[in-house]
Symmetry: D2
Subunit: 339 residues, 4 copies
């Protein structure tokens, strides 16, 4: 950690600061330039309160050198984390496909889609039971009974399931869920993260709409610091000034994350775009960027002619996409899709 | 609601869409141009799923005309909402000052600051007991015992108290709290919002870092649609590309909100800037923009010489600021500060 | 164009507005709902001043239905524009690679790199002569003499050249340049765009750091409305809140642009990331997203051991990347690379 | 400047880097921690190419300590710059009002408005002759003849004039203009900035829509490094994700700029909002934030009933606003308005 001291700081304040830093078990490297004095703090600075330090009268600015995350940090854990779910591996040289309906509507719907996506190459079934909606007047999902339906589909098809939790209050409903998803809006719901850190289930942690990569990794750190080391990161688009696309899929983050963390990273091209016709190109783009899997919305043949679009692919479109993905995988150091 | 239909849509899809819209109790005004057909949907469109509609194959785009929020909407409730807390009025021509320490540290600290800010003109005491922190390794607040201290300070000074809740699980600890605050990171924690909507306490709803004004009002709507009509909005800075300031205080939103909603709006200049020396100018700016109050961090004389900055004002700086605010209030249609 | 009228508008103002609209040769479709009156404007609205309209006292909001761009609009020009440069085709089912050094340094450097990238599969040579730099103290490029060097390399290797112009004042220096590049910072330098519109050279128009897709297409429209129809769009990253990456490459925009415009679109993965090790994954991602080419920085073996990184690939890294690109092209409907 | 070296860097690369740094006349302070080695570069680092340095294989990250701007830097020039225009002072404890029509339409219009705003308290006349417009189909201003009209109004009323330049090609038309404005879109049109740096006229430099404060000051530096020290900065709103307001007026930047630079800073509340009814509250907010002046659009009584809104105030609204501003000035350390 680098602390830049103001020119006109008085020696007494400086002494106080030096004492405070040493009390935290840190060493100091002092460097005086013409206009500025720079302190290098040496040792474990992850607990230093950077906001407090920045606010001192004699401090001009503070810059972190060490990343504030430890459990999630590639430097301290060079090996890729590989997570096993229902016999499938996530992370490392493996590539995983999660697919399923946006919302759970009925047992028949879920099982029909599950069988179709399994046949096409997906190994984890996704489906929304608790649905976070901007409007209180919009459909909020089937909630508990949606989870019951997913569990039935799991028994029927053998596919492990992933679904979203919106409050730690409902944790006992997720006993048979294989991967618990934290949505973008709850990425900094710290009480929920801590509760999930005390479970022993893999957590799919979506990036918040306006979360920096560092904040995202710090949220993973919340889960990991409670003991649960199985976190899968999921990029799903960030909020920018662009109004034409619902979100901007941040694929620049993908190769960078590979350097920063050992955790698996997957991409959700369905929510990023909000338009089904953008899902295939963004999926291929995400595979080209070289990460560990995709989570894609697929729905079965629409019973009501209306719902023919949304952000979901039809099963046959999904199957065609999988074939193209398989060609790209060896180019980016990945083995065949985990089936 | 305006639905733009694609040029090449087939008549059968069009018929299906028309039927689906009419089933929702809406009327249709159809307008055919050279290149586009535009449908105007007339009636209560607040429950129409705009994402579903946008995703239809024959739909080019959907634009809302009516605001999706109702309880919070000025058009449907032209009169200012005025909320009473401990004999003080919030909203309308009233101006309120909330002040207190960033974190609750001890009974003595809180009471000392409370007395100082009360004397200077504040009428509500703020203080953080549960603290949302980006890092799991940072101090998380005194939590339950922090609330006990605030309640003691309330008894001692007669000031009503406002403090943040981070999970609906802790709601029973907030029985003696006068205003419950929802932090920026939880603005779309919908389970928490619904639980607060079932209480009968005023809610201070901070704007999320990347929340649009419409999303913010929809979060107020979550609370109000459960029966609790007492929501105070609090602007505290949004996330932009600018790295020099911690957040960008969005004062452009302030006069606009006056048109969109009847709810009171206050401003938090302390969190927006993160630097105590910016608090006074941003406070005066916020008062000039013409809204209903400020919530400001104030700390007492630092016992440890170090903590002499942060985003907090000293009591004497706060008192000086209040005097300047009082000069501006009549220029923006406000009465004297509620004391 | 949809004009939403306020509830309380008086009939005289309404009459004035109707007259003004009709004077512009437009027809009106009027639809009265309970709370709002909506006017649909039918006809060519591209010249209507939307800011003026929005600002009228009786107008609540204005929403465009028709895109304001015409020459660049896919709806009015369904066929892909294909641009020929030095015998190479850009657009349609063709895929083009432009490569070369960040800055032109010397004749030897440029020719060495040109030969290497040509051998690997690039068909257009890029190189910076006029360099826009944030700091006036940074190297501003070799300027005129840099262009002379590029022209020599063109003669030597037969490769057409692309380089950036920073002011219309220098246009005569670009007589032997095959494609003139407009940089991100000049995307809305309208005087420059108009001057380029009066040339008959293909223009490579980079997207501004904070330009919406619509503003970008309107800048293409500036060039095209002066008579020059040969515009190549180049996505190079947008500015977001994320500090870890220099810019966020907006690949979500790529498939969307295919729908909005018939112009070719290429991607610059070098400037987006600013880190050479991110160039390959972002290139493969961009190819997966399905567009018309890439422009990549390549430098020769560094004579000074220092410059071993930057955002440039070494020729052998570039050659390896090209081989992988060739595998992906048939998956996204592209023929072999234009060589 | 702080250079963080990677763990696994080899000694030869390190030697090369040290040599390269010393060749630039800088000293090095080396600090080895457990996981990282940190180099402090001491001396004038303003010419060091931070992008090049960042890109080196052995460098993990580079952080600037010294600001890259010098002429504009408060640290090197502690005294406020005060600029005199037509007998009026800009900067220091002075407060200036610039006002006038958005576009110059006719001699009569400009003179009528000029007289009205002068009477109300404005001392500089603004008016758009060359108009940058997103669309090539929109009105581009009266251009040269617009400047002639402004010059006539200057002779008639004695008010100095400020108007925008869009290309250095037109510089000779600006001989009688007192302050030359650079618009937001041209903030990084470096050729224009350099040309203006060679004039001896005050330059009003608007902040780019997505420009950081540092980039903005670096653009001022472009002008100043050519010899022209009279730069007035103008905040006019930045681009954020918020769609309800046209731009977000960044008042957080205002008190911060006072610390970073000695140059005068004014605020343009008209362009930030795009709505006349937001101009007054944003003006009062800007005055509260404590800077050096405002530039406001005012138009005379609309000859055509239509144009009754826009982002312009009517003269009587402007006069009322001025009276309220005068009450606030002494609270923020300013003298009466310069008239």
């Amino acid at each position: 950690m680098i602390v830049v001291i103001k020119n006109d700081s008085n020696p007494k304040q400086m002494d106080n600061l030096v004492k405070w830093i040493k009390n935290q078990g840190l060493r100091i490297n002092l460097s005086k330039g013409e206009n500025t004095t720079v302190m290098g703090l040496i040792g474990d600075t992850s607990k230093v309160d950077i906001d407090l330090l920045s606010s001192l009268d004699i401090v001009e600015s503070v810059k972190r050198i060490q990343e504030p995350y430890k459990n999630a940090n590639r430097k301290l854990h060079p090996e890729d984390t590989i997570i096993e779910v229902g016999g499938h591996k996530i992370g490392g040289s493996n590539f995983i496909l999660m697919a399923g309906p946006c919302s759970v509507e009925s047992e028949k719907q879920v099982i029909t889609i599950a069988e179709a996506v399994k046949k096409a190459g997906a190994s984890v079934l996704r489906g929304g039971a608790f649905k976070p909606r901007t409007s209180p007047y919009a459909f909020q999902g089937l909630r508990e009974s949606g989870i019951d339906i997913l569990v039935k589909a799991k028994k029927e098809t053998g596919m492990p399931i992933v679904t979203e939790i919106m409050s730690e209050e409902y944790l006992d409903k997720f006993a048979d869920v294989d991967i618990i998803q934290v949505g973008a809006r709850n990425m900094q719901n710290f009480e929920l993260l801590k509760a999930l850190g005390r479970t022993r289930k893999p957590i799919l942690l979506k990036r918040g709409l306006a979360a920096t990569i560092e904040e995202w990794l710090m949220s993973a750190e919340y889960i990991m610091s409670e003991g649960n080391k199985e976190v899968i990161l999921c990029e799903r688009g960030i909020r920018t000034f662009e109004p034409y696309t619902r979100n901007t899929l941040d694929l620049s983050a993908i190769p960078l994350l590979k350097e920063l963390t050992h955790l698996p990273v997957i991409v959700d091209p369905s929510h990023a775009s909000g338009l089904s016709r953008l899902v295939a190109p963004l999926s291929l783009a995400a595979v080209g960027a070289g990460r560990d899997g995709l989570i894609i919305e697929v729905h079965n043949d629409p019973p009501h002619a209306l719902c023919d679009g949304a952000q979901s692919l039809r099963p046959e479109q999904f199957a065609d996409l999988v074939k193209r993905i398989e060609v790209i995988l060896p180019l980016v150091g990945k083995e065949a899709i985990q089936k």
